[in-house]
């Protein structure tokens, strides 16, 4: 449930807002639907990582990864896949930490 909410909202926000909108979404969504720390963190992590991966691929596949390969060379990585993995990891950590924060804030003010 939590994963689905964060995934859909983050996916849509990516076309309109700046990247840290994902953090706000994960935070708010967890206040609404978060239950345990692990469930919150991993829902946030996986949802945002997945959205970032999909968004990146939506741009990079029709480009035959020309740019991603050039940028990989710039930062001395072996290929575009690595950039995708790092992108997803960063998105995941931000999503996971925001979701966890949402849960902990909810717990601070309610008796869940």
């Amino acid at each position: 449930m939590l994963f689905v909410i964060i995934f859909i909202a983050t996916f849509c926000s990516g076309f309109l807002f700046t990247w840290w909108a994902a953090a706000i979404i994960a935070f708010v969504a967890t206040i609404y639907a978060g239950r345990t720390a692990a469930q919150s963190f991993w829902s946030g992590f996986l949802a945002v990582a997945a959205v970032w991966g999909v968004h990146a691929l939506l741009k990079s596949v029709p480009n035959d990864h020309i740019l991603a390969d050039r940028v990989a060379k710039m930062v001395h990585l072996p290929g575009w896949i690595w950039l995708l993995v790092i992108t997803m990891l960063i998105g995941g950590i931000v999503g996971g930490m925001s979701a966890l924060s949402g849960l902990l804030v909810k717990r601070a003010f309610t008796h869940v």
């Binding site: 926000s13 840290w20 741009k59 029709p62 480009n63 020309i66 960063i90 931000v94 902990l104 804030v105």
Partner: protein
């Protein structure tokens, strides 16, 4: 506890987001989250291979709709209904493809790089400010804005660029903005002037005066006169020898007393070869079509994005195709239905240094014209990313800025060619209106229009070559050329004496020019503008003559020439230099004294075809041998080239002359050895050194590593040297002294051939692509064709509705 947990977790998350928004030296200096996220990071710059066939955009400032058709190389063909909209669209479209390039080039010229890259660019910024680039651009802007036509052009262009910028959100920024983490700023009319200053710096910003002055002090006037003559031993000048000067010259100024004293007293950034260009034109009498053919290939730094941007501009009164400079209106090199023109650098001496005598350490007054004169001060504010701004005060005399008033102000290990305590007089400081020349050429119909257009041109002086459908051909070394006494500015000048000032200008109508000569062709390759019969002094040294000689020899031999004859000549690797000296050099080598490997190398060289083709081994041997010979000849007396002892080495031309005419000259004697050497010994020694040097580096002779294309460094890097964004090193033929002057990171930045006639046909190519975006299919799509030495047939449309299978998409711009 639960409160603590919540606060801690939120704090960690916020810190994480903050960190991902900011730059850290450790992480390639990238704001990782900002850069990598797909919402507005670099992934957004990946352009799809699917092109929109039709697009409508509403933009600010247009008066009427503009149609832009893009061909298969994404070259825009702009059709507007008036001048204002034409240049507005030019600005808009150029910015769409090249915004970051426009930003960084004008930042560089205006000394504002530190604002975005921090303190490491500070000395470059200071140098540009102290050279008076901003001061010069302000003066040029004044000149452009006084002219109502050019004011409209510049303002419309600026409006177009800004229409594009204002619609950008961070996700749309070109990738370099995201890498360097800054935002585009509004374009200003003065930025167009900065581009001209940048060109002046590249082409007319070097000076040997400091080196020549130290050389004069060390060796004395007689030796300097002998080793640094005012006219080369071998020359094939741009204006054909024997051309009559059809004017009454102004009185030639007299040398100042200080100058004469310097000349009789026996006691007071060398230029890079290869930054030059070729252009030529062949008359209808010598072509297959019966109409002239014009060719041009400017040699400049080769970068991605390319220095040039191709465009067609059409509006009532104008329909022109060619290359533009991103950030400047009009077409710079190109053609229309009636005429074609091209440019190469003149190398006129338009930059002089004046020794300043200050009254005291306050440096408030300086001695000039027998009295103390007030120094004016200009404060340059250099903003530095992450640091406090630097306030740099530059002293201005009536000559110009004192670039480094004392040694303490001059950075160590750079700008060696700038003498301390001297003021700079530079043509790039003067009020000017160069774009008017291009504006008029874009609309030109005949020879008279060409001559009229040239009168507006100031700097950097260019050899303007011309051909028309009326079958006229012409060339004019053209610019605002100072009226000087002979050799004025060959050395640093005494700034106290008004007799050393520039004495006015050579009248534009008296700039050297030639029209429809009997020989049936005209050309330029940066060599001397004229033979010594021209009454005025332009400079004492020009580009070496070999490229010009080869071009003229080939053009003279041509009959029924075609576009392809010109293309082949543009990529010609034959070495006139080797033709001039190789046989003579080989004469001194005695095979009986050589070992087996040396004989093998000698034989390769003897059978070499004198071409600097990529797979020639002979070219490598010859080039290395000459460099060793040249170095061994001069190094003992002039110090190592890298020594920074501020001496100028004699030219290749003078060295060739000594070898051919005076092989026992004292200059061949190595003063560090007890025996007396002549050219023969130096050649034998340098040949042996060459063989062991090449063996050591590349292994056994004949091995493919010895091939010229592998030995020569040729590369195309990204404009900011970002790894992965350039082409890197590649195998190629050519050298600085061949027509195909491709060497290091510079060479033919645009090759164009235009066949004039009732239906003009243009061909052209540049190494790169139209887009400045490394994530675009059109970032480097023309590279391969350029590397193969081929040209693209250019699509020159006569109306927006013309049908062509080359048209891939149409963009309609209308007013918002």
């Amino acid at each position: 506890m639960k409160y603590f947990k919540a606060i801690f977790s939120v704090a960690v998350t916020l810190a994480l987001i903050w960190a991902l928004q900011h730059r850290f030296e450790l992480l390639s200096n990238l704001p990782l989250g900002n850069f990598l996220n797909p919402a507005n990071g670099f992934w957004q710059n990946s352009e799809s291979k699917h092109i929109l066939v039709a697009e409508d955009l509403k933009i600010e400032g247009l008066q009427q709709p503009v149609t832009i058709r893009f061909d298969s190389n994404m070259i825009p063909h702009i059709f507007a209904k008036n001048n204002h909209d034409l240049y507005l669209a030019q600005g808009y479209i150029t910015a769409r493809d090249r915004l970051w390039q426009m930003d960084i080039q004008t930042r560089s010229a205006s000394g504002r790089l530190s604002e975005v890259v921090g303190p490491k660019a500070l000395e470059v910024d200071r140098y540009h400010r102290r050279m008076g680039m901003v001061y010069g651009a302000e003066n040029t802007l004044k000149g452009m804005m006084k002219d109502p036509v050019m004011r409209e052009v510049i303002n419309a262009y600026t409006e177009g660029v800004n229409s594009y910028i204002r619609n950008l959100s961070p996700r749309d920024y070109p990738i370099e903005f995201k890498i360097l983490d800054y935002a585009p700023e509004e374009w200003k009319p003065i930025n167009c002037a900065f581009l001209l200053k940048l060109m002046s710096e590249t082409l007319a910003g070097g000076s040997d005066e400091f080196l020549m002055t130290s050389t004069l002090k060390k060796f004395g006037a007689a030796t300097v006169k002998d080793l640094f003559p005012d006219y080369p031993f071998r020359e094939d000048p741009i204006i054909p020898v024997g051309t009559k000067w059809d004017f009454k010259p102004l009185p030639i100024p007299q040398p100042s007393k200080t100058f004469l004293a310097e000349q009789s007293d026996i006691k007071t950034i060398q230029k890079v070869e290869g930054i030059g260009s070729n252009n030529w034109v062949i008359a209808g009498s010598k072509t297959a079509s019966g109409y002239p053919i014009l060719a041009n290939d400017p040699h400049l730094n080769l970068t991605l994005p390319s220095i040039w941007y191709q465009m067609q501009l059409e509006a009532p009164g104008v329909n022109v195709y060619g290359v533009t400079l991103p950030g400047a209106p009009c077409v710079v090199i190109g053609y229309n239905n009636k005429i074609s023109w091209g440019v190469t650098n003149v190398d006129a001496d338009v930059l002089d240094w004046y020794q300043i005598k200050f009254k005291d350490n306050t440096k408030n007054e300086y001695w000039y014209n027998n009295k103390w004169n007030k120094v004016t001060r200009r404060v340059e504010v250099i903003n530095i990313r992450g640091e406090k701004p630097l306030y740099d005060t530059v002293l201005y005399t009536h000559h110009g800025p004192v670039v480094y008033e004392n040694a303490g102000k001059k950075p160590a290990d750079s700008y060696e060619n700038i003498p301390v305590g001297t003021a700079l007089r530079w043509i790039a400081h003067d009020e000017s209106n160069e774009f008017k020349t291009f504006y008029l050429l874009n609309r030109g119909k005949n020879y008279d229009d060409y001559r009229e257009a040239l009168t507006y041109y100031t700097a950097p002086a260019q050899n303007f070559i011309f051909a028309s459908a009326d079958k006229d051909i012409a060339i004019t070394p053209n610019g605002k050329l100072p009226l000087k006494f002979k050799d004025q500015g060959k050395f640093i000048l005494d700034g106290t004496d008004p007799a050393n000032d520039w004495h006015g200008w050579i009248p534009a109508s008296q700039n050297p020019t030639a029209k429809n000569p009997a020989q049936g062709y005209l050309s330029s390759a940066n060599q001397s503008s004229t033979d010594p019969s021209y009454p005025y002094y332009i400079n004492w040294q020009f580009g070496p003559y070999e490229r010009g000689k080869r071009i003229n020899t080939r053009l003279a031999a041509m009959q029924k020439a075609t576009v392809d004859s010109m293309r082949v000549l543009q990529t010609d690797n034959y070495s006139i230099f080797a033709q001039d000296v190789l046989a003579e050099m080989l004469k001194y080598i005695d095979p009986t004294k050589l070992d087996e490997t040396q004989i093998q190398v000698l034989n390769i060289l003897k059978s070499w075809n004198k071409r600097f083709d990529a797979d020639e081994v002979g070219a490598t041997i010859f080039n290395t041998w000459w460099l060793n010979f040249y170095t061994q000849t001069w190094q003992d007396q002039f110090g190592k080239l890298t020594d920074n002892n501020n001496l100028k080495w004699p030219s290749r031309d003078r060295t060739v002359q000594l070898l051919l005419k005076d092989p026992t000259s004292k200059w061949f004697n190595n003063t560090k050895t007890p025996v007396v050497e002549t050219a023969g010994e130096v050649l034998s020694n340098s040949f042996a050194a060459t063989v062991s040097q090449l063996m050591h580096k590349y292994g056994k002779p004949g091995n493919s590593k010895w091939q010229w294309g592998n030995v020569k460094e040729t590369y195309i890097n990204h404009l900011a040297n970002i790894p992965g964004f350039g082409l890197g090193k590649f195998k190629a033929g050519g050298t600085g002294s061949t027509v195909n002057a491709l060497v290091d990171g510079h060479g033919p930045s645009w090759r164009m051939v235009v066949q004039l006639g009732p239906n003009v046909k243009g061909y052209g190519i540049f190494p790169g692509g139209e887009s400045g975006n490394p994530g675009s299919y059109f970032y480097d799509d023309m590279l391969k064709t350029w590397q193969d030495g081929k040209l693209n047939e250019l699509l020159f449309m006569q109306s927006p509705n013309e049908q062509s299978n080359k048209i891939k998409s149409t963009l309609t711009l209308s007013a918002k």
